[in-house]
């Protein structure tokens, strides 16, 4: 574990903030870290900014994420990582589909694909216009960004998967990368299979160790922390749990 110093906390949407810290972790797109907030908790977070000042982008949902939102420059937190296997970007035309805070997991992949000269289209979804994450960041990077909102306040009125289908119909991408609610990912993998497009999805499971030992993040035969969190369409098809079951901290099955 590395103890790092927070350099800044930035508002992204009304309930999502980015925390930047001094840490040159050399993360590959799609990898994550276990983030220790001393005396509070340790939680998994996708690495959403790399370089000298790495960063995580956090939706406030409970005690640990609230504590992350309330960090101040100069505060110290612990970082274990980079962990897991990230995206492996192949092809020239990439469609990145992000739902809610899941978009954080796509950030480095979008950034590196554009840096490599690939054409990147993004379909971002959120409940409402004010909650869309990284619309400006991805646009500034040079991606073609389209959005969907549940309430119709901006872009496509409805699911981001419907928006993705429209974009696929317009031009078939070489690869889809995605992160968001698991039912969204399950629907998207079906769309990808129908159109015979390769897909890679980043999954979330309850994590304790983050390094493939404790088994709490098991999904089918894979550990999400060490074998994933990014899985290919082929791997997802083997996982009976995908889109259906996850496990609580005791290991009991519950619906996704």
């Amino acid at each position: 574990m590395d103890i790092v110093t927070v350099t800044g906390v930035f508002n992204e949407t009304k309930n999502i903030k980015t925390i930047r810290f001094k840490w040159a972790g050399r993360s590959k797109p799609g990898q994550f870290a276990m983030v220790w907030i001393p005396e509070v908790d340790e939680v998994p977070m996708s690495i959403s900014f790399s370089g000298e000042e790495s960063g995580i982008t956090v939706l406030d949902v409970g005690e640990a994420t609230w504590a992350l939102h309330n960090l101040k420059p100069g505060d110290r937190i612990g970082i274990k990582g980079p962990l897991g296997k990230g995206f492996s970007i192949t092809g020239k035309d990439i469609l990145a589909v992000g739902g809610g805070s899941g978009t954080a997991a796509l950030a480095l992949a979008v950034e590196s694909a554009i840096a490599k000269g690939k054409k990147v289209r993004c379909a971002l979804g959120a409940k409402t216009s004010g909650e869309l994450l990284f619309k400006k960041r991805f646009t500034d990077m040079g991606a073609d960004v389209r959005v969907a909102t549940d309430d119709g306040s901006e872009g496509h009125h409805g699911f981001v998967t419907q928006l993705a289908e429209k974009l696929i119909a317009k031009k078939k991408p070489d690869l889809i990368i995605a992160c968001g609610p698991e039912r969204m990912l399950a629907a998207l993998t079906e769309v990808a299979a129908q159109h015979k497009i390769g897909i890679q999805c980043s999954l979330e499971r309850y994590m304790k160790c983050g390094i493939g030992l404790c088994g709490s993040c098991q999904c089918g035969r894979y550990t999400v922390c060490a074998d994933g969190p990014v899985f290919t369409g082929g791997q997802l098809a083997e996982m009976a749990d995908f889109g259906k079951w996850k496990r609580d901290p005791s290991g009991r099955k519950m619906h996704c």
Binding site: E42, G212, L213, C214, Q218, S250
Partner: protein, 304 residues
């Protein structure tokens, strides 16, 4: 390749490596994979109790220079929902050993009965968790309590009963003898040792539970010593655990008197293939040194 097939307390194993309890052993599919892809000769499940338990808060596991420090706190889904996991694990074809923990002889017996019903090849009594109040060392360090638990379980089930011991007692042979006298069929040694990590920049213990159990390389000499002492006194087989990463580590345990080894922490470095890799390394050591059977190695360092 040298013959690695072995039989311990009636369990037929393709090789003498087993998955240690608590490492990826919580779901049927992961146990299945550790046999089929990982090459384990047998697998031990996560320790299961009567009720679902979330375990301790996070951070609950740290990688240290020489090992792993964990304070998982015995998270488990509870015995009643474990039957479906066992059913999947058993399809792999290797013996599945059900690990259980509890705070009373009658509850241990009830858990063992359920594990037997689920098809476990044997039951492993966790008498040695160093960081879960009431459920480990309190009982595991008292020979009389250990004997009482082993007897209760022996009279409840027909399958072999293994007792897993902690090294953190003044005389581990006294505990092993008490378990053997009460009828246990094999001794497993060792579980993790109480330990702590303080981060000096933060100025606090890192584990949420403050104290955890140390495993991995750091405890191998303790495990080897424990096996050497126990194997000199008991007649039942001893299964060694603690810091087995390579075939040479496994051979060291075998020479101390172990009939098989369990592997846990090494999965971090060598992946789930650790079992097949360690087995191949044991075979290679045997070939290089012209040993034909495991029996020639087991207990070699003790002069038999």
């Amino acid at each position: 390749m040298a013959e690695l097939r072995t039989r311990i307390a009636g369990l037929e194993m393709e090789n003498p490596t087993m998955l240690a309890s608590g490492i990826l052993g919580q779901t049927g599919e992961s146990l299945f994979r550790i046999v089929r892809e990982g090459g384990a000769g047998a697998v031990v499940t996560k320790s299961i109790g009567l009720e679902p338990r979330e375990g301790h808060g996070s951070p609950c596991l740290l990688e240290l220079d020489n090992g792993i420090l964990n304070a998982m706190g015995l998270p488990n889904p509870g015995i009643d929902s474990f039957g479906e996991e066992m059913a999947v694990a058993l399809k792999a074809g290797a013996p599945v050993i059900g690990s259980i923990f509890s705070d009373s002889p009658s509850n241990f017996a009830a858990l063992a009965r359920k594990m037997e019903g689920y098809g476990a090849a044997a039951v492993e009594l966790n008498l040695s968790c160093p960081h879960a109040e009431k459920f480990g060392l309190d009982t595991g360090s008292d020979p009389a309590k250990v004997a009482e638990i082993v007897s209760a379980v022996k009279s409840a089930v027909k399958m072999p009963v293994f007792a897993k011991l902690s090294p953190m007692v003044p005389d581990i042979t006294a505990i092993a003898l008490a378990a053997e006298d009460a009828g246990c069929d094999a001794i497993v040694a060792i579980n993790t040792m109480r330990a702590m990590k303080i981060d000096i920049d933060i100025g606090k213990p890192v584990l949420r539970n403050k104290v955890g159990g140390l495993s991995g390389r750091a405890i191998k000499p303790v495990g080897v010593r424990a096996v050497y002492e126990i194997a000199g006194r008991v007649k039942v087989p001893v299964i060694g655990a603690g810091g087995v990463y390579t075939g040479r580590d496994a051979v060291e345990y075998l020479m101390a008197g172990a009939s098989a080894v369990q592997i846990g922490s090494a999965v971090r470095e060598r992946g789930i293939g650790a079992f097949g890799i360690v087995s191949a390394e044991i075979a290679e050591f045997m070939k290089e040194n012209k040993y034909k059977s495991l029996n020639e190695i087991i207990g070699l360092a003790r002069g038999k």
